[in-house]
Symmetry: C2
Subunit: 476 residues, 2 copies
Amino acid sequence: MNTHTTLLVTLRGIVGDAHVLTEGDLTAYEQDWRKRERGKALAVVRPSTTAEVAAVVKACAATGVSIVPQGGNTGMVVGSIPDASGQQVVLSLQRLAQIRQLDAANLTVTVESGCILQTLQEACEKEGFLFPLSLAAEGSCTIGGNLSTNAGGTQVVRYGNTRELCLGLEVVTAQGEIWNGLTGLRKDNTGYDLRHLFIGAEGTLGIITAATLRIYPLPATQLTAFAAVPSLEAAVALLGLAHKHLNAGLTGFEVMGAFALGLVRKHFPQQNVPFQTGPDVPPYCVVLENSDHESESHARGQFERLLEAALEQGCVLDAVVAENLAQARALWHIRESIPLAQAQEGLNIKHDISIAVSRIPAFVQETDALLEQHFRGARLVNYGHLGDGNLHYNVQAPVGTDAEAFLRDQEGPINALVYDVVDRYNGSISAEHGIGSLKRDKLEHHKSPVALNAMRAIKLALDPHNLLNPGRVLKL
Amino acid sequence: MNTHTTLLVTLRGIVGDAHVLTEGDLTAYEQDWRKRERGKALAVVRPSTTAEVAAVVKACAATGVSIVPQGGNTGMVVGSIPDASGQQVVLSLQRLAQIRQLDAANLTVTVESGCILQTLQEACEKEGFLFPLSLAAEGSCTIGGNLSTNAGGTQVVRYGNTRELCLGLEVVTAQGEIWNGLTGLRKDNTGYDLRHLFIGAEGTLGIITAATLRIYPLPATQLTAFAAVPSLEAAVALLGLAHKHLNAGLTGFEVMGAFALGLVRKHFPQQNVPFQTGPDVPPYCVVLENSDHESESHARGQFERLLEAALEQGCVLDAVVAENLAQARALWHIRESIPLAQAQEGLNIKHDISIAVSRIPAFVQETDALLEQHFRGARLVNYGHLGDGNLHYNVQAPVGTDAEAFLRDQEGPINALVYDVVDRYNGSISAEHGIGSLKRDKLEHHKSPVALNAMRAIKLALDPHNLLNPGRVLKL
């Protein structure tokens, strides 16, 4: 038997024949979420315990076969599919999906990395607690993937990214050893913070098998408002007022440009998008969410005082506050429909960038002007998590042009233009989606060489044979 | 000239003659805060810019002289003084102390590492913002030291440790290069999180020269309550109720054992400690703080509802809410006086431990019993940040015995007993004070070998010649 055949036999011995997939339709494991690329796996291996993960890693390490860890495979940057060689093992964590313990008094939940985000949200809610991570793919993404990409989403303004929600990890190292760091401690100063090194490393430093995460008492009520603002500067001023008036009650603050909202109206005419008719369509709208631990009437009072102050200061032109849950959902649904409306409109060039909140208006003004100058007619679909300084600053082909040709010819130059302005504004070229293989070469250009050298040294120190998700994040 | 003399000439050329100290009284730099140890420096070097720090590191690296970075030198674990060899350079960051920028719209402040914590608190307050880190040494500790030890303090229950308050760092590496990671971004997924690796590394991986930190709108009011509870279990139940009722308004939750409060009464009789007279002195009391962004009356209403619920459930026996700022300060002063009262009572054995909040009552019951069994008459001064699961579980010599002899003979065995129970409860032997040289050997015994190996690999990767604070945190 050759080495690969021997390895497959060993892997079948560890996880059982049924969980080493080499035949049939493996598209779900081999193709990325956005269908940009497809690889070929030597095998897809599906362990169901941490010990099995460790044994799989040891077996692969012994034969020099590299491993691509995979959760729900919903990533945006081609970071969790195998390359085309047919020589890599996809290690799917989907069967390692138990919720091990919810500790109410400690306000933590310990969960295995294959657990679907929505499953965890629902399990916590059933016990009266909120697990606040919330994002579009929540029905299929896994906690392990959320941790490995440090997922963001719509409640970061209050609760932080996945990183900030994690108190402890269990990780299988590149040597196939198990680190049990599932302490559930809020304070622990015993050496280097390995937890934060594995979080956001996209499976290149170790394989996260479980985590202890923060949970919160469920709020008594959540209110949603939809406000028209006269400018991005006004949106930033509104954010400052919202922080002052709502404090930790501010759990969502999303901005949407008029063109993005226009696409929603065009492609989903059944949706009732406020403030989009008449002679003076506002350039931007904002969705705000207020989570309140007292009562709905208290939340309404807070919202009213905020919006009064904002109207008085001129940073809000008009606003509606949802009267009930259905209306709140409808308002959020407008925001969530933007990516779909964009896709309906045709292929587009995506940017997931962040800038200090205070500098976003100047950044957008400058970048809009440069794009208009160099790519006449290109249409800007600007929206995102303004509360965190995170914009999805996307570019749609000019009306009536061939979107495919536009993407083929202009994606490179437009990326370069946008990222160069991001650099000048000391921003990030990947706010919440990560690097994967899609942005790896761009990272070389945009990240500080001092940081890149430190990252390479760390990768080589922890995974000297480059077995874990090689070629992702970093060029070695 | 020998190598050291040449180095001193070079260092004088970088920072100026006046800022390379080799003579006179260097006690402030060479002796640790708790006066447990004294070292001898080759020189104390006081750069005033990041470029000077980088040049100093390069000069030391070129001659193989190791560096002990130092802020306010208020650490508790002998981590910032030189060893006795007279061969190490103390690099004091005290002159690198500018507040570079307060960005109100981004809710961040960028500050150099030598800035005194209290100076930063006051500068933010003047602009209407809160920098929430708060701890006993705030009048003399520096931000760089806070970051390097990931300092905790009394508001962690709401705002997290120093780590959670930091968005970006500027660091001088062991090679004397400058990494500018001062982005002020709330979302940035471009590779490994170097920030969290340098935070809490106690100067062994790089020298933090500046940081961009989170600030918050100042609360409208802060109320303090002092509650008697029938047990530690009840204190934990009260904490759960406080999270539900006050939510993010809960900014402080401290527990104090009856013996600890008795020491305050004994040594500071002018202080009026509630609930300590009469036949039924409660075993524990709790200080709660409610920070409110609306109004004092709103805060009082919230506190009243919380305490009513707690009385009804039996987890509070009695409580007082401060009527004004002076009363609130007096209540907090009781809590803050415990370490001083302890010192007045005599030398004692200190533990800075953390356990999952839910397991603290069982931990204390078990450890109290074991100590009583093996060290008859030893007195337990138990108090701390219960909201974070962090206890200062200290042991005072039996009445009438020689405290010095007790410490000399029993510190080792008592440490071992307490830390072994901490291990069994999956806790931490250093919740907020760090490792330094004081706990380095203990860490070898109590930390997972997998984690220790990863830490060593990282140290060698980033500081291969072991120039930065050698011998601290890790045995190489």
